[in-house]
């Protein structure tokens, strides 16, 4: 009986892993259920724009009327506890 339970659990686990891998593969192909071994047709989707890994910093420019000391006072690097919540 214990062997049967172990066998069933293992089968379920392996099946779950296979299904997960299959979904990963499908999502990488933009949801298309296309057999990779068949030559693709010319009717292909456009290459997706790569997502930015991070936000580029704002460009800051000053002119002769800027009080540079005041701007330097705005530089206040802090690591807050609220960042980790």
């Amino acid at each position: 009986m214990n062997k049967n339970i172990l066998l069933i659990s293992t089968v379920i686990l392996v099946a779950g892993i296979i299904i997960w891998i299959a979904f990963q593969y499908i999502s990488n192909n933009n949801g298309l259920l296309v057999n990779p071994w068949i030559k693709k047709t010319t009717n292909q989707l456009a290459t997706p724009v790569p997502s930015m890994l991070f936000n580029p910093p704002k460009e800051i420019k000053y002119d002769s009327s800027t009080n540079l000391e005041e701007e330097l006072e705005k530089v206040n690097p802090e690591v807050l506890d609220s960042d980790f919540e």
């Binding site: 460009e59 330097l72 690591v79 980790f84």
Partner: protein
């Protein structure tokens, strides 16, 4: 025996999901704080650009061993802080404590750059 087996199966399914979720949230926190610190670095770089423009300094080439003016020193430390932020972004952290520690070190580098920029402005 059945209970242990059930617990084992649940752990195998639930535990990896929990670990991946934690790593992902630490990554997000790291990027968010790095964005904020990068803004400070950009601000300091813009201050130095404007200062050099006002003093008529056209170019500052900061090379190893040639940091001989306060402006060059400030530029060196700003560059160093920017590189540290880029390095921080690429790091993976396994715990909040570790992430907090490394962000604290990064913060100190930016404060050092700020002190050097202040000296350059005071000249």
């Amino acid at each position: 025996m059945k209970k242990f087996l059930l617990i084992f199966v649940v752990l195998v399914i639930v535990l990896p999901a929990t670990i991946f979720a934690t790593e992902d949230s630490l990554y997000q926190i790291n990027q968010k704080v790095s964005d904020r610190l990068e803004e400070d670095t950009s601000r300091m770089a813009a201050i130095m650009e404007e200062l050099k423009r006002r003093k008529g300094i056209l170019e500052t080439r900061v090379a190893y061993g040639e940091v001989d003016t306060q402006i060059k020193t400030a530029d060196y430390w700003i560059t160093s802080a920017a590189e540290a932020i880029a390095y921080q972004r690429a790091q993976k952290h396994s715990s909040k404590t570790q992430l907090k520690g490394s962000l604290g070190v990064l913060r100190n580098k930016i404060l050092k750059a700020k002190a050097e920029v202040r000296k350059a402005l005071d000249e």
